[in-house]
């Protein structure tokens, strides 16, 4: 699968704003009685990419979902490209793309329809064409009219990354992008991430595969029990 990341996106240039790509000020997040993140403070300089590591349940996914504004912080402040993730939620949502464990895909729709739905929400004038182009790019061109329900885990991952690319985000939040992929798929995903970075997108990568992650990211944040610790 050859993926060409559109390099015509003027918003994707890293030097446009001097604000850190990502700034967490004393951020905590509680799920019921459990603290998933506890008083986390961190800043990711503009133009750098971040590798998030830590065991299961250490707070990586929570952190990504907070930055994506899928969740609101219980306490503290999250800033994305200088925008407050609570006050300017819609602005932040337009700038970030989240590749999550959950694929955000409608099982009963086809691959193409899934992308068309998002393209319409984003206001693309010709959603069908945009969707077809992206499906070809992630190597799902021939399966575009099949319902997602019949897709393998790898194909879902490809469709989910197409969904992320459709948003043309300035910050790509990738939660275990290599999970459920075969070696060829992992290779392709590495290519996508490299191209995202080359086009100026800030990548935040949460993964167990520290080796792959270290070659792709300049910064690293290791989480343990919702706190930052030395790796």
């Amino acid at each position: 699968m050859t993926v060409r990341i559109p390099d015509t996106n003027p918003l994707a240039m890293p030097s446009l704003s001097a604000a850190p790509a990502l700034a967490l000020h004393d951020v905590s997040k509680r799920y019921g009685r459990r603290w998933a993140l506890a008083r986390l403070t961190y800043a990711l300089p503009a133009g750098r990419s971040l590798l998030l590591t830590g065991h299961n349940g250490s707070g990586k996914t929570t952190l990504l979902r907070l930055v994506a504004t899928a969740l609101g912080p219980t306490a503290g402040k999250v800033e994305v490209l200088g925008h407050d993730a609570v006050q300017e939620r819609d602005t932040v949502r337009r700038e970030v793309g989240l590749l999550s464990h959950a694929s955000f895909l409608y099982e009963d729709l086809t691959a193409q329809q899934n992308l068309v739905v998002l393209a319409r929400l984003l206001g693309h004038p010709s959603p069908g064409d945009v969707a077809d182009t992206l499906l070809t790019r992630v190597g799902l061109g021939r399966r575009s009219d099949n319902a997602v329900r019949g897709f393998s885990a790898g194909m879902r991952k490809r469709l989910a990354i197409a969904r992320l690319l459709l948003k043309a985000p300035r910050i790509a939040l990738l939660d275990e992008p290599f999970g459920e992929l075969d070696p060829a798929g992992i290779h392709d995903m590495e290519g996508i991430i490299a191209e995202l970075k080359a086009s100026g997108v800030t990548v935040v990568l949460a993964t167990h595969l520290v080796e792959q992650g270290l070659t792709l990211c300049e910064e690293r944040l290791h989480l343990q029990d919702g706190r930052a610790v030395a790796a």
Binding site: P10, A70, R94, V96, A102, F104, E107, D108, L122, G123
Partner: protein, 231 residues
């Protein structure tokens, strides 16, 4: 692929409504099951009350709306189950789509479904209960439309809540049934008047009550729904 300008509330609502209807169409087997459930309910009333056609005819309006109410609980639950699979609701929220557009599209979609269901149930009711449409099909259409809108406005709010809680199947009717009593009462009463004649010209006051109920709950739902689905 430049990012297009964000779309407004109305276009977002239409895009989401189109998506919901597409899913309903592609999963029409599920839709059929709901229709047959409502038909079976109508049939069960006949059995439970014995073959007294006069009694059935007299109470037809009530049975009709009870069948629709029971079916609406299934349809509402289903429409949010589709969104919780693969966390699709998150995908739509983060697109970003206005939460109020999500409310309007869901509530309108469910109302349309109930109108269609009512249209299908009517001939069956004529056959089973021996009713006649006395005051005309325009009146009946008004009752069906207003009644369906009245059930789905609060129903959508409560389905969104209960779909994320434990024991969702019990919770939705427990919350919804007491709330829709005024709507059920006036819709059943108005239907009875349409089917049995309206000598005292009461139909309009019941339709007025339904309209008021709709205005209140569409307004409240529109205002409060974002608080339910956003963290």
């Amino acid at each position: 692929m430049n990012r297009p300008a964000p779309i407004g509330l109305l276009r977002a609502t239409l895009a989401l409504l189109r998506k919901d209807l597409l899913i309903e169409w592609r999963t029409r087997a599920r839709l059929n099951a709901i229709v047959f459930f409502a038909l079976a309910t109508l049939l069960m009333f006949s059995f439970a009350l014995g073959p007294d056609t006069r009694l059935l005819e007299k109470n037809a309006g009530g049975y009709f709306w009870l069948a629709i109410l029971f079916a609406s609980v299934l349809a509402l639950g289903e429409s949010f189950r589709v969104e919780s699979e693969n966390a699709c609701m998150d995908g739509v929220r983060l697109a970003p789509a206005d939460a109020r557009a999500i409310y309007l599209s869901k509530a309108l979609g469910n109302a349309l479904l109930l109108v269609a269901l009512g249209t299908l149930l009517l001939p069956v009711m004529v056959a089973l209960y021996g009713v006649k449409v006395v005051t005309g099909f325009v009146d009946l259409g008004c009752v069906l439309l207003l009644g369906s809108l009245a059930l789905s406005a609060p129903g959508t709010v409560y389905a969104a809540i209960s779909s994320n809680a434990r024991a969702r199947d019990v919770l939705l009717p427990l919350l919804l049934f007491p709330l829709v009593i005024p709507a059920l009462l006036s819709a059943a009463k108005a239907t009875t008047l349409v089917l049995q004649g309206d000598p005292m010209n009461q139909l309009n006051s019941w339709l007025g009550l339904l309209l008021g109920f709709n205005l209140i709950y569409w307004g409240v739902g529109f205002l409060l729904f974002p608080r339910i689905i956003e963290d």
